[in-house]
Amino acid sequence: MEAGTQAAPGGGRSLDRSPLARLPDRVVRIGLTAISAAILLLLAYFFVKLALEARPVFEKFGVLNFVFENNWDVSKGIYGALPLLVGTLITSALALTIGVPVAVAVALFLTELCPRRARGSLTVLVDMLAAVPSVVYGLWAFYFLIPKLKPVEQWFADTFHFVPFVATENVAGPNYFIAGLILAIMILPIVSAISREVLSTVPADQKEASLALGATRWEMIRTSMLPYARRGIVGGSMLGLGRAIGETIAVTIVIGDNPILGHSIFDQGYTLAAVIANEFSEAASDPLHKAALIGAGLVLFVLTLLVNSVARLLVIRSERQGSKPIAMGV
């Protein structure tokens, strides 16, 4: 009863801590869990807040009419976001068409052909494309790309006038194509980085097997690397697409600010993100206009949400196929 039986301080339960000593542990665990849960709540609030603030415009025009009506006329108070939505889609599609082949080619070059000594520095150079801020790309495009490319675009528009959406009498300085080109440059580093990661997960025996069967380097790439990495590359491109859809400032500078649907990729246009950036200060006093811009933001949000979810799914699946985790979106 004295020392031995009374819950032996030096006996088997010496590892037990008093409730007080256990407190910090509990605080840390609950605190971290709370922060994480708060992120979910914040995003939910985020969505609800945008939807609530955009309600006036949805009530006036109806959700579908707001999104698909081809008429954005601020002076008359009519808001149909189709020209903006289509502008966003055109510029992003152009960005993918130009950017993805180059990005995949760069990734293939860096993983397969590049001399080992040059690989590191070339990789850094391509990654540095992502370090240039978008406003600087816009500045450069406005003063360099637009004047330099205008004659080339005019020649292209005249020569290939039979191709749909190309012909135009007078190529505008700022236009869909320039915006698409700038976006292509901006998504190139992401798409290329993810493609590189995915391509590096192709098992070496698979590559060596096809070389041993007598395939040339290109045949090896085509038959044993690209099919293996396809899903990851598509996923990476979708992430690039998400970036292109949401990119604002560079596009705002070179799109031409014209809320009327252009007939050619060399016409001036507008995008969802650009309209928000440009019209926001004037809309502060007009509740309907403001609601319309927030509605545009909501459409943008939903669009990127869809694209990104599909992208993540594809990249994650291709990651499971390989064994290495793939760093995304950094």
């Binding site: 590892l15 910090p24 542990d25 840390v28 665990r29 971290l32 922060i35 994480s36 849960a37 992120i39 995003l43 807040k49 945008l50 180059v102 080619a105 760069v106 070059f109 052909l113 850094v124 150079l125 391509v126 540095m128 370090a131 240039v132 801020p133 978008s134 406003v135 600087v136 500045l139 450069w140 406005f142 003063y143 360099f144 440059i185 190139l188 290329s192 007598g214 040339t216 380097r217 290109w218 045949e219 992430l239 949401g246 990119e247 604002t248 500078i253 993100a273 928000i276 950036a277 926001f280 927030i294 949000f301 949400l305 990104n308 992208a311 985790p325 760093a327 995304m328 979106g329 950094v330």
Partner: protein, 299 residues
């Protein structure tokens, strides 16, 4: 010698000229594409340097924009300081939160349902356009006049923090996962409580990776314009009060860019050189830390 090549020929017929041509062409194309990818970078750097170096002077860094259309235009002091303040405060908000979420994911949540949901929505946040974050902060903090101000530097920081948070979290999660479980188990076996294991073992082992990820997030946030336009806005004077509207380099460039005045456009080029240099320095520091810790064997 002879017999070896004969044997080889028996197994593998020579590659036909057509296949060889295709192979060569594709290789050339891959070379070309890489060249094409580098061209814009070289052009951008060359062009902003050639246009912007001339704008740099002592006054450029030490005076605020004046706003006079006729007289001296002034420099970008307020924009440089504003960028540092806004991004610094954003990092102060985003890094602890982001690392906290990452710790929850690796140390507590792991594969649980809440952890999976958090992971998914953090990824969703990565994809949200920065301008939409700006809109959100405008609606919740600016219009509501939180803190007794409408537009304010700290609200710009809040918008940037939303942008940085997922980047910090995901990169921190990756490095925290690389900390070997044996280290954790050893500490636990010695009787250390969980929180002490985190603070004394897990975080120090992952520190350099976390710093790298955070610096890259800072570099990305520093170049953002869109969310600042309607949270911190564009002003002229330097201020150290985060509750005041605050200037920033990207916003200043955006404002000067299309002005019908050569001196203002010149200032935009100078500001662009400054901004790119700042971002490159941060990126380089991040890469150096990463390389050094890799050389030490931990990532």
């Amino acid at each position: 010698m002879e017999s070896a090549s004969l044997a080889q020929r028996a197994v593998l017929p020579p590659v036909s000229p057509r296949r060889r041509r295709t192979d060569r062409m594709v290789r050339a194309l891959l070379w070309l594409a890489t060249g094409v990818a580098i061209v814009p970078l070289v052009l951008v750097i060359f062009y902003i340097l050639s246009k912007g170096i001339g704008a740099l002077s002592v006054e450029f860094f030490t005076t605020d924009p004046t706003g006079d259309f006729l007289g001296a235009k002034g420099g970008v002091k307020s924009a440089i300081l504003g960028t540092i303040e806004i991004v610094g405060f954003a990092a102060l908000l985003a890094v602890p939160l982001g690392v906290g979420v990452a710790l929850y994911l690796t140390e507590y949540g792991r594969k649980g349902r809440l952890a999976q949901a958090v992971r998914f929505f953090v990824d969703v946040m990565t994809g949200v356009p920065s301008i939409v974050f700006g809109l959100f902060i405008y609606l919740t903090l600016v219009l509501a006049g939180t803190g007794g101000s409408s537009f304010a530097g700290w609200k710009g920081s809040a918008a940037l923090a939303l942008l940085m948070l997922p980047v910090v979290t995901r990169s921190a999660e990756v490095v925290l996962n690389l900390v070997p479980d044996s280290l954790r188990e050893a500490a636990l076996a010695l009787g250390a409580p969980r929180w002490k294991v985190i603070v004394r073992v897990v975080l120090p082992s992952a520190a350099s990776g976390i710093v790298t990820g955070s610096l890259l997030a800072v570099a990305r946030a520093a170049g953002e314009t869109a969310p600042l336009l309607f949270t911190a806005t564009i002003v002229k004077a330097t201020t150290f009060d985060l509750n005041q509207p605050m200037n920033s380099l990207p916003a200043q460039i955006f404002q000067d860019l299309k002005q019908p005045n050569d001196e203002l456009v010149q200032r935009a080029w100078g500001a662009a050189v400054t901004l790119v240099a700042m971002i490159l320095i941060v990126t380089l520091i991040a890469k150096l830390i990463q390389r050094r810790s890799r050389a030490m064997g931990v990532r």
